[in-house]
Point group: C2
Chain length 244, copies 2
């Protein structure tokens, strides 16, 4: 059977814009992307119980053929998870870049992440909800997973460098304080542990606030102005971190 993408790539081949050695690989990449796209659509409509067979049916292919591209359903989910992390990460990065003031940047990052989550609730559940049964996050996911928290840390680090941190949270003491100091050392020399603590605090609250909203914990209390409530909370975590 001729797939649309394959045909498009063949036309590229005939116009001579592609090497023969790459053809197969690129068709494969296209097909992989197409599967992920359909899977994302299914995720958005049918919820989290993604069916490989249904995806294959939608693509007009045998279910067994999908296994040529993903060794298992878990592997497909892993790919979707990585993509999701990258999607939130990149939109947050774009929004952050547009805000000069540290506090405003902090809040804008929050809004960006929340907006993405509201637009892609099932993908949010995939990455920040309960882990899929029996699913252990592979190494490939850890780097994309850190993009948002790195952004938040960057806001505080920049503000610190510019002397714009007006206050500082209580110094993390004890063993966890040492662990934070170790993380801070990875971040650069002279980064204090409380900066890492405030970052994690803000990130934890960010995820909690979005999940609470998305998973229905706010029902029957804040139903209209959830955005306003979210911003109120984001400004609170910003203040805790020392942003004006």
């Amino acid at each position: 059977m001729f797939r649309r993408s394959a045909r498009a790539l063949l036309s590229l081949w005939h116009t001579g814009t592609m090497k023969a050695a790459n053809l197969r690989a690129r068709v494969r990449a296209e097909m992989t992307e197409e599967i992920k796209q359909v899977a994302r659509r299914h995720l958005a409509t049918d919820g989290a119980n993604l069916s490989l067979r249904a995806v294959a049916r939608d693509l007009g292919m045998a279910s067994s053929a999908v296994y040529r591209y993903f060794a298992s359903r878990d592997e497909l989910l892993t790919a979707l998870i990585i993509d999701a992390y990258d999607a939130v990460g990149s939109t947050a990065e774009q929004v952050a870049a547009a805000q000069a003031d540290p506090a405003e940047r902090w809040v804008a990052i929050g809004h960006a992440v929340r907006d993405w989550a509201l637009a892609n609730p099932h993908q949010w559940a995939l990455i920040y909800g309960s882990p899929v049964p029996g699913y252990e996050a592979p190494q490939d996911t850890v780097v994309p997973a850190t993009r948002v928290i790195m952004l938040l840390a960057g806001v505080l680090r920049d503000a610190l460098a510019e002397g714009r941190l007006t206050s500082v949270p209580e110094q993390p003491a004890g063993r966890f304080g040492e662990e934070m100091a170790a993380v801070a050392a990875h971040f650069g020399p002279g980064v204090p542990a409380h900066l890492v603590g405030a970052t994690m605090y803000g990130f934890v609250h960010l995820c909690g606030a979005i999940s609470a909203e998305l998973f229905g914990q706010l029902n029957k209390s804040i139903d209209e102005d959830r955005r306003g409530f979210f911003e109120w909370q984001a400004r609170a975590t910003a203040a805790f971190a020392g942003l004006a």
Copy 2:
């Protein structure tokens, strides 16, 4: 087939400690409880993908017999969810009752919830993780679901009444402030909106912190003293709410 519970109840019946009118109903209740118990065990070991057939197998009965007690898998899950809400709620209430100082009570509630979550991670995921696909929380769950947040609100209300709130968060403004005021009115006359705001802020953070820890978001940063980190956060939300 004679079930153990049925036999036990029959002995009760023979000693005359039970009314005949109740026998059937009580055997049924025992059986229902037994199913839930085995389901919880399966949940704890096999993860979230609870199999009704496997539960039935463990009980030595046909899978179709389980449907005499629960109309569907979703209904079983709902029952487990209600039980889970009640379990966290009651342990938190017990712990809270033992702490006189408001700030300490706030932190103790947090620890109690966290301890329960660490001991029953899959049940935590059931109630605070991503909602089960296609699952809409029935009305029966809303009251048990509020027990923990009610506890937190109670701490602040008592502290306010005793004049022990040392500070107050920024007044919630705009539409969400009105919604909070409406919730506060339900709580009693003279309860300020910021008290509701602080409660929700603390609860959101509590859930976020526990989920982050449980779902692996803290891996490779805080690995040893997570309890310390949690307490540091809990004291921060307490301070935000105005508890010394």
